[in-house]
């Protein structure tokens, strides 16, 4: 409305002024209709977004929410499978949460899960990054290697476990191969030594899921703008310096995303650990998913299992919130960097 017609200094309308007023009115109308159009476009976009989210909202409301509510009910009610219906279970308040939080087995399960998730996530990241760095520049036969590298991710985890079981015996092919390569008798008992059993699963997890990190990091590396790298090259920076001071900082949000997603997945690892160890030898591989499964489906302590699941869910929510916060911070710092660069270019 800032450009509407003005009344002349004499206070009377000249013909010219009249024309201007008509012009101004018509401009105002045009602006009004354009605003309406933009509002309706915004509304359409919102409807479109909502329609995309609707299946997810429906899934949450009708499938996940009832389960979460039922689980919440169980975690506040002590239900023994053999003594009556679940609807008659006794209300026990926070007793089950207290029981879980003071259960040393649960504490150890958290420690094992964290150790497993951190080590396997880092392993996946390191190998995934190496592969991505080798692959991000086009070369002849790239598609072939790409397929080869993602194959482990396409293998069902239980199959990974059973295949590994056949190969990881003390006198099995893996130890034999390593012994031949290094020329020393290499005989770790991957499957029966409680000190390395969890590490065995972590190694299998790394083998199984490195491709996941590889795909994310490859996409991230390929998306890095070429200009800063070219500029650094012109300035005579070494490859290592370009990598350390240009590529890596630009890749930070993607790295964080790859680490977070992998960590969350690793915390929930069940099939390989169960197929290979069922929590043993001793209790060396009794991670959170294994202990929750055993409590719920081996011991049929549905209520305690529900309380455990809630505690783990809260733990994961905290981790996810921290991750989102870090990701936002990374994104902000990158945006600022790009803005600064744009301003510098303009100047």
């Amino acid at each position: 409305m800032g450009r509407t017609g003005r009344i002349g200094p004499s206070g009377s309308f000249s013909a010219k002024n009249q024309d201007m007023a008509v012009d101004a009115l018509s401009t105002g109308t045009t602006q009004l209709s354009s605003e309406a159009r933009s509002r309706s476009r915004r509304l359409a976009v919102r409807h479109f977004k909502l329609s995309l989210l609707l299946p997810l909202i429906a899934l949450f409301a009708f499938l996940l929410m009832p389960v979460l509510l039922l689980q919440l009910y169980f975690s506040f009610h002590q239900w023994t499978v053999y003594l009556g219906s679940w609807s008659e279970a006794d209300f026990v308040g926070l007793d089950l949460f207290r029981e879980v939080l003071t259960d040393p087995r649960f504490g150890w399960a958290i420690v094992r899960s964290l150790a497993f998730a951190i080590s396997s996530t880092l392993g996946c990241f390191v190998f995934g990054f190496l592969l991505a760095y080798l692959m991000y520049k086009p070369f002849r036969g790239q598609a072939f290697f790409y397929i080869i590298f993602i194959l482990p991710m396409l293998t069902v985890p239980v199959v990974v476990a059973y295949t590994a079981e056949m190969m990881l015996y003390q006198s099995g092919p893996i130890n034999d191969l390593i012994s031949r390569i290094i020329g020393v008798d290499f005989k770790p008992a991957w499957l029966s030594n409680p000190d390395i059993a969890l590490a065995t699963v972590a190694l299998l997890e790394i083998w199984n899921w490195t491709p996941f990190s590889f795909i994310i990091l490859l996409a991230g590396l390929s998306a890095i703008p070429k200009e800063p790298i070219e500029a650094a090259e012109i300035l005579g920076a070494s490859r290592w310096r370009i990598f350390w001071e240009v590529q890596l900082p630009l890749l930070r949000p993607v790295i964080l995303l790859a680490l977070v997603l992998r960590f969350l997945e690793a915390m929930a690892e069940f099939p390989k650990t169960w197929a290979l160890f069922q929590g043993g030898p001793g209790s060396a591989t009794e991670t959170l998913p294994i202990y929750i499964f055993m409590t719920t489906w081996q011991y049929f302590q549905i209520s305690k299992g529900a309380a455990m699941s809630y505690i783990v869910m809260l733990l994961m929510i905290v981790i996810v919130l921290i991750a989102i916060h870090l990701l936002r911070r990374e994104k902000r710092s990158l945006d600022q960097m790009y803005e600064m660069r744009a301003k510098e270019a303009e100047a």
Partner: protein, 480 residues
């Protein structure tokens, strides 16, 4: 009557005479009495045709298929959808079915030690009425049939005896050089062991890891380990609970069993801590083991030249016993004892029940238990013990061992909450075996955990279960 030349008196006298003759041993009855199998078919026909759905592991199902096909031909009752699930994973799945009162499966094939838990969760259909209508008799060896009962009702039909027998390497203990060295060292004859201590000594003496020959082939993993512990514990006079359902593990008998159990580490393969049957059976059959107590089906594997390098190289016999109580007591074990149980919520429970009875007839199950390749279903019926195909598959010596061990066979814990009790013990034994827990703490820790389980399930409920548990325990100290 007069027209036919018979007087009324003559006819009556003749009738009485024939009736009496019918009961005289060795005379052939004039009227053809329907066999148990015929009665089962008649009863099944009365409930109508159906395809029943079940949860069963394929190695168990495969040899049953021809027997089921015969039943389908006669009655129209056959197998529909099958969930192929390992017998070790089936309890969790079955319990989930029980909790949801799901009618999805008409029958489940599962470890019969789950009967108390599943019956307590209201999932199982009692079979006594069907048994009566079909004139069915569970023709099990010794008191093995009792394993199907809980709270005075019958809930299962066995398909697999799974009794443990002793395997001792014939070629090693009959070797004259070994015999002489053993006699020189210990002053006694080298022979099939009678006690647990004899067994351990023999294993230590004959093992030679440099030739990949280990003394023991027993399982020591978390899931299976307790099975072996129970044999020693029971034979030492132990029983896990008193009449008030207080755990009685931490006793001299219990500690004796733990000590012997852990000593196996000296003679077993270094990786035994996590080995199950898929690893151990090939080692036994390929000749890498001196002796062990193992499931009877391994007889079939050993006797099958396509699967074994030790044909005729094993003695099959009674498991070792103990003189811990002052007199010799032998206790074998059957676990998991695979049986067919029927879902109470199934709309086809009658059809499923009659199919189970058909499969559970001693005569019908001969081809099932004698399959030399799918060796999971092991002999259990009296009729199996003399059937030619069974004797051929197990060898006569093997069947004799099976029959002998059945006389002293016990279950592991036969109570509601079986898996929970079992895992607490299994975890602690496994921790001790791998050095995470001192051996002296195993039983105290297990008792504490068992007390918590008892508190959760309810002492009074478990006290009621205790009668069923005691009823399935063997009464003989030594087989006759």
């Amino acid at each position: 009557m007069s027209r036919s030349g018979f007087s009324r008196r003559t006819f009556l006298q003749g009738s009485v005479g024939l009736t009496v003759a019918n009961f005289v041993p060795g005379t052939t009855p004039f009227a053809h009495a329907a066999t148990m199998e015929e009665q089962t078919i008649a009863a099944a026909k009365a409930v109508g045709k159906a395809d029943v759905n079940g949860m069963i592991w394929s190695p168990y199902l495969v040899p049953m298929k021809p027997v089921i096909a015969e039943f389908t031909k006669e009655t129209g009752i056959g197998i529909g959808a099958v969930q192929d699930i390992s017998i070790f994973d089936a309890p969790q799945r079955a319990m989930a079915e029980a909790l949801s009162h799901s009618p999805q499966f008409d029958f489940i094939h599962i470890d019969s030690n789950m009967i108390p838990s599943l019956a307590s969760a209201g999932y199982l259909e009692p079979l006594d009425e069907y048994i009566k209508k079909a004139g069915f008799q569970l023709d099990a060896v010794a008191d093995y049939g009792k394993f199907m009962k809980y709270g005075g009702q019958t809930f299962g039909v066995p398909t697999d005896g799974n009794v443990h027998i002793q395997y001792t390497r014939k070629d090693l203990i009959d070797n004259p050089d070994n015999k002489k060295r053993f006699a020189d060292k210990f002053g006694v004859e080298l022979k099939v062991p009678e006690t647990w201590e004899d067994n351990l000594r023999l294993q230590e003496f004959l093992m030679d890891p440099s030739k990949d020959l280990y003394g023991s082939g027993n399982l020591r993993n978390r899931a299976n380990g307790p099975t072996w512990w129970y044999m020693i514990f029971y034979s030492a006079g132990g029983f896990p609970f008193d009449d008030d359902m207080k755990p009685t593990l931490d006793t001299p008998a219990g500690q004796y069993a733990v000590d012997l159990y852990l000593q196996d580490k000296k003679v077993n393969h270094p990786e035994a801590a996590n080995w199950g049957t898929p690893q151990m059976i090939p080692r036994i059959a390929q000749g890498h083991v001196v002796s062990c107590q193992y499931w009877d089906g391994t007889c079939k594997t050993i006797a099958n030249p396509k699967q074994s390098k030790t044909v005729d190289q094993f003695y099959f016999s009674l498991v070792p016993g103990s003189k811990f109580t002052g007199k010799m007591v032998h206790r074998s074990i059957s676990s998991p004892l695979a049986a067919i149980l029927i879902n109470k919520y199934s709309p086809r429970k009658a059809q499923a029940a009659y199919l189970a009875l058909w499969l559970g007839s001693g005569k019908n199950s001969i081809p099932i238990v004698s399959d030399p390749v799918n060796a999971f279903n092991d002999a259990w019926a009296k009729e199996h013990m003399k059937a030619e195909p069974v004797l051929k598959a197990y060898t006569p010596e093997g069947i004799k061992a099976v029959e002998t061990n059945f006389q002293v066979v016990a279950p592991p814990i036969y109570l509601t909450g079986y898996l929970e009790f079992q895992d607490a013990l299994g975890k602690n034994l496994s921790e001790a075996y791998v050095g995470q827990l001192p051996g002296k703490d195993v039983l105290k820790k297990t008792e504490n955990e068992w007390n918590a389980i008892i508190g959760r399930i309810g002492r009074s409920k478990l006290k009621n279960d205790l009668a069923s548990y005691k009823a399935v325990m063997p009464t003989k100290a030594v087989p006759t």
